[in-house]
């Protein structure tokens, strides 16, 4: 199978007041297209930092990240932005919605940065929101939603540009057990139908248990 993600010897070292802090230590990972994997670890183990390095949000101190053969950190700002917009769907720990936009606009938002994806955006947004149980909230504003509903809107947004890989950081953090199960079912369905690759980081072992493979992180190092 084709490699979706290849990580080679990634280091991320922060210089905090002259003191070196190794957030990532020689991380190596290769993920096939259509994989559904999770990385678990305690808070501060480096999971979120690894996700942001993979997603082109934090530049590693050294090492390489390649997504579908593209060396992420060799791209300029335009290339990196296009990669984030077209190939990657981010789900952050917080809901991260724009408060002045309606739910459907929040979901459609990434499209304004996409070079040629202005088709039936709202139809697509509505379909994703319906799949996540939010068909009656299309015109609501984020302040009118519960924390769990806001989280599902943020999840819907990650799928609007049909990304090749979803990078999810504690994606079900605000959800109750039933919603969590529905979201994971939605992920599985997309994974199967679209061959979308999923990389979840979490400290929730039950959630990790629903993925095909679990990696562990400790003190910045990735363990099998």
């Amino acid at each position: 199978m084709d490699s979706m993600l290849v990580i080679k010897d990634i280091w991320k070292i922060y210089d905090i007041g002259g003191e070196k802090l190794e957030a990532l230590r020689s991380v190596n990972l290769e993920i096939e297209k259509g994989s559904f994997i999770s990385i678990v670890g305690h808070s501060g183990s480096g999971k979120t930092t690894l996700l942001s390095v993979i997603g082109g949000l934090t530049e590693p101190t050294r090492g390489n990240v390649s997504i579908e053969g593209t060396d992420v950190w060799s791209l300029n700002d335009a290339g990196l932005s296009a990669l984030r917009n077209e190939k990657i769907g981010f789900i952050f720990q917080f809901a991260s919605l724009i408060p002045t936009l309606r739910v459907v606009d929040n979901v459609a938002l990434p499209v304004i940065f996409h070079k040629d994806n202005h088709g039936d955006v709202y139809g697509r947004a509505e379909k994703i929101l319906s799949a996540l149980g939010l068909s009656k909230k299309l015109n609501s504003f984020p302040s009118e939603l519960s924390g769990g509903q806001q989280r599902r809107v943020a999840i819907a947004r990650a799928f609007i540009n049909k990304p090749a890989i979803i990078l999810a950081d504690e994606p079900t953090g605000d959800l109750d057990a039933q919603s969590e199960s529905e979201v994971m079912d939605f992920f599985s369905e997309i994974n199967e139908k679209e061959q979308t690759t999923f990389l979840l980081v979490t400290h929730n072992m039950d959630l990790a248990g629903m993925t095909d493979r679990i990696y562990h992180m400790r003190d910045g190092a990735l363990l099998d």
Binding site: F92, S96, I98, P110, Y122
Partner: protein, 410 residues
Amino acid sequence: MKERKTSNKLSLIFLAFQNLMRRTFRTSALLIAIAIVSGAVFSTSTLMWGVNDSLKKGLSKFGADLLVVPKGSMISMKSALLSGEPSVFYMERDILRTIASLKGVKKISPQLFLTSIDGECCVIGNAFIIGFDPTSDFTVLPWIEEKIEGPFQISDAIIGGLNTQNVGDTIVFYGQTLRVYGKLGRTGVGLYDNAIFIDIEHAYSMAEKSYTIPNVAPLKLVRGHISAVLIQLEVGAKLPYISFTISKDPNVKVITAGNIITSVRQNLVALFSSTIVLSIVLIIANALMISAIFSTIINERRRELGLLRAIGARKSSIFRLILYEAALLTSIGGLSGVIVGIIIMRVYQRTIIFNLKALNMPYIWPSVTDIVMLALGAIAVSVLVGVAGTFYPALRGSKMHPYDAIRAGE
């Protein structure tokens, strides 16, 4: 449930507009501050433009390249010309021959200034009467806007555009009944708007007859005296040389149209200097205020800006988003200031014109096209202030590290 709009209305400008609507009090306060600057810039420039333009138009109608007056009467002449203030001064008519003989002089025409006395029998008080020579005139007859059919008669008068009489009416000075033959268009130049022009020969005879009217102070004027000589030069004639040659006569003073415009401009700048300085201070203060507020706004929205970067916004998109927000805010504020400025100037237009005329400044309202241009200029200044003030915060916002921005506040 509300009807969902299916159009793809999402854009950076839409996002910028939504951001402005987020904090209505802050946005309103900024709009008012920008409107004050825009209103000040627009009002000042409109008034200055009006004075300058009316002066240019008036003097272009004046048609004379040079004006020769008796020595010591230059200030009175400027006052007469600009505000229509009745002024009386005389010199010998012989100067006409000397000037006519100069090479480069195309036309010359004498004028005689009289002022009537207020409140006496048979006299319209305090009018500025100017005797002109219809045979040589080139500054009055060509600018008649409406008139009676037939040639100008010796007992006729031509009135300036601000006089209340109509064509065909009669007016009486020192027992002499004059028919209003024509009326000049309004020029903004006091002399042409306020004066009453009569045949110079009639003016001499009126002065002579004034001695026969009981209980009225006579017009102290000697036949053969004139007040001013209007000179039009040949194309290509050297104005400074002719002016210098005439000035060799110690009894006269030469005034050019340029002298008058410069003099009014100096008065204009002096009058508006405080307003100009205040406008500049307001512009700088506004730019700094916008800069400070947008720095705060960007700090408040660090996480959102980081999110936009994460979903595909380039640095330049973030930069444009912030500039659009500033441009929208300042253009709306600028437009509001212009509208308020127009309303205030219209409400106080009589007071404004009265005060300007008291300072020898002619004024006619700029044309609609000029006002639109000035309004666009004032709005453009507001937008430039906004963009300049936001430039650095926007640059800083666009360079924020996406990951750090997303984690802001954690």
